[in-house]
Each structure stands twice: as structure tokens, then as C-alpha cells.
């Protein structure tokens, strides 16, 4: 049940707006002064905040907006600022008002509802995206895994990571390492989009770790294609001398000189059919066991876990 905090005068949200939003399943919480609103934000953060310019004292709305936006955990809460058109004649400094949307008075209830829906869908699209790959991050990944666990159809949750990424970074530098991460993100996302559009998902856990979800019957062709494409593109990211050597020399975590294979991919795929998992944590721990096995193999490989079938 999405909760909306209304911080402003009693007249901020007209009764017909309230009725519509409540009918659509939103819970509305009203605060008419700053301390109350701040307390609410602090202790029980809403899913969305609607406030207005100058609601109880001068600059109170700025205080409230800043309190939400400067907190990392809450920065993704959409904020709507209600203004009078006349207030816009003085151009507002949007850095000072880091809100997500504005609504000018007076507005019909349907406009407010549409804006709220839009803010929700925008947030679902983008709020935890990885800045490098632009792929959804952990919150979205957890949500996607939970979604497929609830579904009757079988899916495969696939964990991808780049072998020898650390020595590559040491040898080629971080910016080249970022290029490789971006390359893997593109390879995975493009293959999944082409072969397994329906019900699929691609996310970036962080660093060189990725997750994708496809329907169980597509897991083999998708994994094969990802590995083939990766092996085709990989050489663009390696120096001619390393390609000729077929390996590179680097230092391991104990600082011993070691020979590393050139970049390769490992994919550990866990199937979810038959209700064998009920929580994403179980999926990820099954995957990390499987990953241990894939990582022992040379070159690019994938393994699909069908232990309980």
C-alpha cells in the first residue's frame, strides 16, 4: 500500500483528490507543520511526498525537501512541489529545490494521480541503476528474483562474473577495467534482449558481478550465446602481446607473481521451477556454491543447477 505524505496547509489536497487517491489504494498522511513532517520522514518514510512552497513558515519546504534528498536511503523518494503559477514568475533555483516534479494550482485529481503513477514507474525504471552500466542495481535485482520465485513457470537466475578481472585491472588500469565491465553489461543485455525478451531481467550487482533472469527453457541458448559473443569481443580489450602470449603475468592477493588466463566469463545458473526456493537469499547462496564449481574450469563456462529436479 503506497503511502503519501502531504506536508502543507489543509487546503493543499482538496477532498476530491483525497477520495480519488484513497480509492486507488493510497494511504494519505497529513502534516501541517515542519517538525511533524520531519519526524514522519525520519521515522516512517513515505513512498512519496507532496509539499508546497511556504507551508508553515518561511523556507520550511526547503528544509523538508533537503532532509529527504540529502539522505542516501531516502533520496529516491519522489517529491512533488505544489506552486501557484505566479510563484513561477520568479524562476526557482532547482538545485535549491531538488524536487522531482511540480504541480501548479489548481489541478484536477486525475492530474495528480497520473503524476504519482508516472513518478512510481520512473522510479522503478531508474532509481538504483548502476552509474557505469545503467543497469538496475540490487534493490531491483532482489525484486526481480522475488517476482520469479512467486511465479509458477520455471526461470533461471544466472550470476555472471568476469574471471581474472582483478589482475586485468592491475595490468591495464581502472578505466580499461570499466570498459570491460561496460562491455560485459552490453553483451549480456543484448543477448537477453534478443533471445529471451519475455519475462527476462538483467541487473548489475556491482563491480564485475551481474545477474540475469530468463525463462528456464532459454537458459542454455542464452548462456552459450553470451559466452560466444564475449569471446568474440574480448580481444578488442586486450593488447596484441597478451593475446599472443595467451595469458598475462600479475600478482595474486598474496602478492605472489602468478600467471593469469586472459579474461573469461563464468555463469552460474540456478533454476527456480517447482517452488524449490521461497526467498532470494536461498537462490543467491545456491548460486555461490555453483559459482565455486564454474570458477574452477578454464576459460568461459556456464553451469546450470538442476539438482532438485
Amino acid at each position: 500500500m503506497p503511502r503519501i505524505l502531504i506536508a502543507g496547509n489543509d487546503s493543499l489536497i482538496m477532498p476530491e483528490c483525497r477520495h480519488l487517491l484513497e480509492a486507488k489504494g493510497y494511504t494519505l498522511k497529513y502534516c501541517t507543520n515542519l517538525p511533524e513532517a520531519l519526524g514522519q520522514v525520519l521515522e516512517d518514510p513515505p513512498d512519496l511526498l507532496v509539499t508546497e512552497k511556504g507551508f508553515s513558515g518561511k523556507n520550511d519546504e526547503v528544509e523538508l525537501i533537503q532532509a529527504v534528498k540529502t539522505c542516501l536511503q531516502k533520496a529516491n523518494i519522489p517529491i512533488f512541489l505544489v506552486v501557484d503559477e505566479i510563484q513561477l514568475q520568479v524562476e526557482l533555483d532547482w538545485d535549491h529545490y531538488p524536487v522531482d516534479d511540480i504541480i501548479t494550482r489548481s489541478f484536477i485529481p486525475e492530474i495528480l494521480l497520473a503524476r504519482i503513477r508516472l513518478a512510481e514507474s520512473r522510479m522503478a525504471r531508474a532509481f538504483d541503476n548502476n552509474p557505469l552500466s545503467r543497469l538496475p542495481g540490487n534493490t531491483s535485482i532482489i525484486r526481480a528474483i522475488q517476482r520469479v520465485l512467486r511465479e509458477a513457470d520455471g526461470y533461471a537466475v544466472c550470476y555472471v562474473d568476469i574471471d581474472n578481472f582483478k589482475p586485468y585491472n592491475d595490468r591495464y588500469g581502472f578505466s580499461r577495467g570499466d570498459e570491460v565491465i561496460l562491455m560485459v553489461a552490453r553483451v549480456v543485455a543484448n543477448v537477453v534482449a534478443e533471445l529471451a525478451r519475455k519475462g527476462s531481467f538483467v541487473g548489475h550487482i556491482g563491480g564485475d558481478d551481474f545477474v540475469f533472469i530468463v525463462r528456464e527453457e532459454m537458459v542454455e541458448p542464452v548462456c552459450q550465446k553470451i559466452l560466444t559473443n564475449f569471446d568474440l569481443v574480448r580481444n578488442m580489450f586486450l593488447s596484441a602481446e597478451d593475446i599472443a602470449m595467451g595469458e598475462f603475468v600479475g600478482r595474486d592477493r598474496q602478492n605472489h607473481e602468478t600467471r593469469f588466463g586472459l579474461l573469461s566469463l563464468s555463469i552460474a545458473a540456478v533454476t527456480t521451477g517447482g517452488g524449490r526456493y521461497s526467498h532470494y537469499g536461498e537462490v543467491s547462496s545456491a548460486a555461490s556454491q555453483l559459482k565455486h564449481c564454474v570458477k574452477k574450469l578454464d576459460g568461459s563456462n556456464y553451469l546450470v543447477d538442476r539438482r532438485n529436479t
Binding site: 570498459e179 561496460l182 553483451v187 543484448n190 534482449a193 534478443e194 568474440l232 569481443v233
Partner: protein, 288 residues
């Protein structure tokens, strides 16, 4: 040649935005893109037969926005990294020749033929990235397209001068513009962030002795261009076969006895290409 004029031509050519493609190719790809069973690879095979779309694809993947500046020299890699949807947009956004002239088709055939010749040479010589060398061969004359598009009047003058004085197009370009298509192609490729592997063969395809980073690729594109001109497939704007550079020839280390089988292999591969070319020109749909 007065420097002011040269600078002016340079400016016009540097600001070039969009090079047009043959309508037949865009139509074919458009149909492919609408078919849900088309794979990215199938689209890639058609794109790798067109010097303009291939350049655009490489420009896109090497742009700062896509995150791989000067990194991607292979069309296959570009296609894998950009993915089906981006390629589809590229095709939809491709501009086509408003008026298609015989010389546009002929230059396209020459470029494609040069790619085939480079591929055969690269494989024969056992170099490690034959696909990239054929790509360099495919786009080696991109400067000619730019000159024709942006300086149509001068382009006609170049053609006339080359016929009148019996000189090569390259010499006529230098006389009229104070620069040549290799130089123009070189700036374009550099401004598109293409890797040296592709830029240098474009820059040095008439002067392979100037190659610094990629002498082998330059020598192959240089000789591939000569072979395809000699075979008379397509038309590159004049009737001459360019002179063979002795340094490049030494680097290639080919024996005279190698040439006949090479030519034979190139001609065999050109048959497939000819089929595709007829298909494109008749505007019919065919299997990629």
C-alpha cells in the same frame, strides 16, 4: 594551391554529418528489421557489405556515449555491443541517396570488392585479424564519398581534370582541392574515434610506406585496392590501377606464383558479392 581555399574545403569536409547509403541496402535491412526472426548476425552480414553503414556502426560504437572510444575495430564486435535495437534505429535513421548515380553504386562495389580482396590476402598471409583488415578495406575510400557529397562542384572538376590530363583521381584531387580522399577519409575516421587499426589503412592506402602502427594492415589494403582495380570490379572514379609501393610489396612477401591462386580465390568470392549487388540494385529481397 592557395591555403585559404584548402582550409575552406577542409572546414566543409570536417563538418560533414550524414553520408547517404544506397536505397536498396536500407530497404533490405528495413525489411529484415521488421521480421522478428531476423538475428543481429544476419543484419550484421548485410551491414558489413556497405561502406557507409559499416562506418556509421563503427562511429557509433567508438563514440564516447557508448563508452568504447578508439577500442572497437571489428564490425562483429560493434554489432554484439550495440545490439539489435540500436542497429535497427541506425537503419531507420540512415539517410539514402536522393538521386542515386551510377558512380555511387560503382564506388560501393569497388569498396566491397576491396574488402573481399583484403580478406583473401589477410587469410593467405595468416594475419591474426582478417575481419578487421577487410573492414579497413571496405571503408578505405570513405573520403571519396565525403568529397562527392560536400563538394559536388569540385567533384565534377576532379573527374573532368583526371580525364582531360590522363591523371589519377588522387592527383586531380590534390590539384583541385589541395588535399586528397585518403587525407579526408583519415580526418573523418579520426574524428569518429575509430582505432588506429582502421584509421591508418585509410590514411595510407596510397602511401603505405607512411604507416607507423599498422604497416601490415596498410600494405594489405594498399595491395587489395590495386588487385580489385586490376580486376575491374566496381569503379573507383578513374581508369588507372594505382602504382604498387615497393616497401609494402616487400612487407607482404608474396611470390609472383602466389598471385594467380589469390586472384582466382578473390574472383570466386566476388561471385557471391555480385549476386548480392544485383539483388540490391533490383531492389528485391533476398536471403542475407
Amino acid at each position: 594551391m592557395d591555403d585559404k581555399k584548402r582550409a575552406q574545403f577542409k572546414k566543409v569536409l570536417r563538418e560533414i554529418k550524414n553520408l547517404p547509403t544506397l536505397p536498396g541496402i536500407v530497404a533490405k535491412l528495413g525489411k529484415m528489421a521488421e521480421n522478428p526472426d531476423t538475428t543481429t548476425e544476419q543484419m550484421g552480414r548485410v551491414i558489413s557489405k556497405d561502406h557507409i553503414l559499416a562506418s556509421k556502426l563503427l562511429r557509433l560504437v567508438n563514440s564516447a556515449f557508448y563508452g568504447f572510444p578508439q577500442r572497437i575495430s571489428s564490425l562483429n564486435s560493434a554489432i554484439i555491443l550495440l545490439g539489435f535495437n540500436v542497429i535497427k534505429s541506425l537503419i531507420i535513421s540512415a539517410s539514402i541517396f536522393e538521386v542515386m548515380e551510377a558512380q555511387d553504386v560503382e564506388l560501393w562495389e569497388h569498396s566491397l570488392g576491396c574488402a573481399v580482396a583484403c580478406n583473401v590476402l589477410a587469410r593467405h598471409l595468416g594475419v591474426k585479424d582478417p575481419e578487421e583488415i577487410s573492414t579497413a578495406g571496405l571503408i578505405h575510400d570513405i573520403g571519396k564519398v565525403a568529397i562527392k557529397m560536400e563538394l559536388p562542384k569540385e567533384y565534377e572538376m576532379i573527374t573532368a581534370l583526371s580525364q582531360e590530363k590522363n591523371i589519377s583521381r588522387l592527383e586531380a584531387e590534390r590539384e583541385i582541392l589541395g588535399l586528397d580522399h585518403a587525407e579526408v577519409g583519415s580526418w573523418l575516421a579520426r574524428s569518429w574515434n575509430l582505432p588506429d587499426k582502421l584509421v591508418e589503412p585509410i590514411t595510407c592506402h596510397h602511401e603505405p610506406q607512411l604507416a607507423r602502427e599498422e604497416p601490415m594492415a596498410c600494405a594489405i589494403v594498399h595491395f587489395g585496392n590495386i588487385l580489385i582495380r586490376g580486376l575491374g570490379y566496381g569503379h573507383a572514379g578513374d581508369i588507372w590501377v594505382p602504382p604498387l609501393n615497393s616497401k609494402a610489396w616487400k612487407l607482404l612477401a608474396l611470390a609472383p606464383a602466389d598471385i594467380d591462386p589469390l586472384l582466382h580465390e578473390i574472383e570466386e568470392k566476388l561471385w557471391e558479392v555480385k549476386g548480392f549487388s544485383l539483388d540490391i540494385q533490383s531492389g528485391q529481397e533476398g536471403e542475407a
